[in-house]
Amino acid sequence: MKAFGRVQDVLLDAFSFCRRIGGAPAAPGIVLVLLTGCFRTPPPADLRIINGPEPESLDPHQITGQADGRIALALFEGLTRYDPRTGQPVPGLAARWEVSTDGTVYTFHLRPEAAWSDGRPITTADVVWSWQRALAPATANEYAGALFPLRNARAFALGELDDFTRVGVRAVDARELQVELESPTPFFLDLLAYSPCTVVPRHVIEPIGDRWLHARPFAASGPYTLEFWRLNDRVRLRRNAFYWDAANVRCEVVDLLSCVSPNTALNLYESGAVDVVWDKELIPTHLLDELRRRADFHTYNFLGTYFIRCNVTKAPFNDPRVRRALALAVDKERLVRRITRGGERIAACLSPPGIMNGSVPYRPPAGLDHDPEAARRLLAEAGFPGGQGFPVVEYTYNTAPSHRNIALELRDMWQRELGLRLELRQLEWKTWLAAQSALDYDLIRSSWIGDYDDPNTFLDLFLSDNPNNRTGWRNGRYDALLREANAEPDAARRQERLAAAEHLLVAEALPVIPLYFYVGMACFDDARVHGIHLNLRGENPLWAIGKEAAPAPP
């Protein structure tokens, strides 16, 4: 009884204490009510895909990332679109086209049924206006270069030419479009499927301006229209009923979720909250060995290369023999076996295997093998026998465990084989970019993802005047070979020029040391999710992806 009295005392005391400190007892209740206001549960989507980081934009003339591009291409289509199996360009908004014999004049015929998702027809005037917008300096489209094959497009984008009618695109009538190129460009149709060349709605953008993506009804030219976009959560797409090929769009509602943590992505996938994870960055590397044994884990060759840039403006890296020695001493096989572990193929050139030269596969040059003996000889020839007298080398990379591990291996290899001392410098992303642009490095970790399926997307980086060169390497012969190749309508002769240019790059001059070709990785169960074909481009058009309903629980 006494004990009970004490409990009562305590309770009373506690209550009066709470009264003293104000309306505290009510607070949890109020907070709960407020909390429930923070949740909005949308109905589930038919297909849920973890797409990668939060899109920076969905405006196809502003985006730069591949994850963003996948969404943008579901919303906006160009004259061509990617074939889901091969990644090659096939008819999109244009039903067909004719090409002049010299390969510089294209005549496109728009589909008569092409329409915006708000029901208005899409005409050739929309295409012309979209390309003008994509090129106009005021749009600040970082990927405007995709339209530079058009006659005078570069001059217009540079502000040297104000009159857009002089750029090589002309609407003959509402359905027929004539396009003139500077030179025959074998990958032009491929570029037309790429987001910077897609068609955007003038009738929405002109009156609304910068915030046009938030306007409703949404005017999409692609297979899907934008239902909502919740930052750092998801982009929800709904089938565009006015799309010319709407009958073949396999899902009604698709969610593309943002995620940056590999463990979370895998947890979401394992718990069935999502159907697909298709960003390689979201595959936890420490689980790769286990994942690769699973049937729902897929790897595929990808249009990307990992390499090292050499600062050729700085001694002793200004000596090609030194750069060749560095390349010959690297055991690339060891890097892909011990560190990347995704089944990557080692690289002795820049163009990944499977890349096309027009309609035929490109055959890259052999490049340099792993040959420490030859490396030592070359280094001695350059005046550093056994690494003697060679300054301490600084190897710069951006923060990421795999880059660091590769750096450690390289340090080991160059020390053991050539007697060089390597210091590692880790920089945060933007600082690393700034160091690269300012040539503030000796050797720096780099990579490149191709924009289109042609060696030029890798090789033109190292033209003397390309702002992406960032090695200080300028070579007139290389520039000439590549220019000739791109003006060459004959595939066999083009192959020769391209391979000669690439040979110069990766076997003689070596401003860059290729290490390996990327693989793409994705998790999905192909018994339930259909239509993801994992082509070299890593372009999996959303319209082609369908899902079988989950089997009913037993």
């Binding site: 004490r6 005392d9 005391d13 009066s16 204490f17 003293r20 400190i21 607070a27 949890p28 907070v31 407020l34 909390l35 923070c38 949740f39 909005r40 549960t41 920076e56 934009s57 969905l58 405006d59 502003q62 730069t64 300096p137 005021a138 600040a140 489209n141 970082e142 405007a144 570069r154 984008a157 540079l158 910068d210 915030r211 938030h214 930052l231 750092n232 959560d233 979720l257 943002s258 995620c259 940056v260 943590s261 463990n263 979370t264 947890n267 979401l268 394992e270 718990s271 945060e428 992303w429 933007k430 600082t431 970019l433 700034a434 160091a435 642009s437 990579s447 490149w448 702002p467 992406n468």
Partner: protein, 305 residues
Amino acid sequence: MNLLLRRLVWMPPLLLVISLLAFCLVRLAPGGPFDRERKPASPEIERALQERYHLDEPWWRQYLRFLGGLARGDLGASLKYRSHTVTDIIRQGLPASLAIGGGAFLLALGLGVPAGFYSAVRRGRWEDFGVSFLILLAVCIPAFVVGPLLAMVFAVRLGWLPVGLWGSPLHAVLPVVSLGLYFAGRIARLTREGMFETAQQDFIRTARAKGLPETAVLVRHALPLALLPVASYSGPMLADLLTGSFVVENLFQIPGIGVFMVNSSLNRDYTMVVGLVLLYAGLLLGLNLLVDLLYGWLDPRTRHG
């Protein structure tokens, strides 16, 4: 009252100074918002980009422009998320961060105060050691360990709770616990130490001498005073919690603003950094002011001081 007014008057200039500092500091970092691995097709485009966001102007003019926007309640366009304004992003992300931060705050107080009180009352006994050990665990194990562990057990293995994403109160449970445990531990320690200190005060002896029951002495007289350090810690803690947690939001894929707090400076998203710093500073100043007011209620001595 006078004090309150003075503090309120000081707040705007203080916030301005803070915004100016953030504005300048983030611009001092190497690189810029539009630096990427792949440079634009021509330097013209880069220039056009700078021009579009007025980054080509002298910094003081950019700052004046920012102040002009601020006066209209417009924090400018995000330089990273180009289809959104900073106000947009904060408005969209804040509810989730508030929900998780508020939940974690309640959890911290609801768990921490009783635990600290209990362990102080049982000082030197095994109950004290047991609770103190748990408190130590809560303080020592960071959220990036607790979070994945909780997710593995309750979401992946048992399947009771969602692994991540946002949509229902259930989605908030694991993030709230992962975020709140550490703070619960801190609060428990503060409460415990506060109780020890207060227990030695004269007025407690007086209360006991009067013959008050022990529980009344502890709860009615000692606890309010023992909670003073908890109150002063609560201000900054709540500001911290409400502006989101980078770790927890990433772990559970919560669409809050905590991720932006860290990423905006990594992305050199100048406008976003300044907007978020202002938000955080405003919350911090406001909550500290609240704490000072709370002091008056908790401790009669400060009312006349």
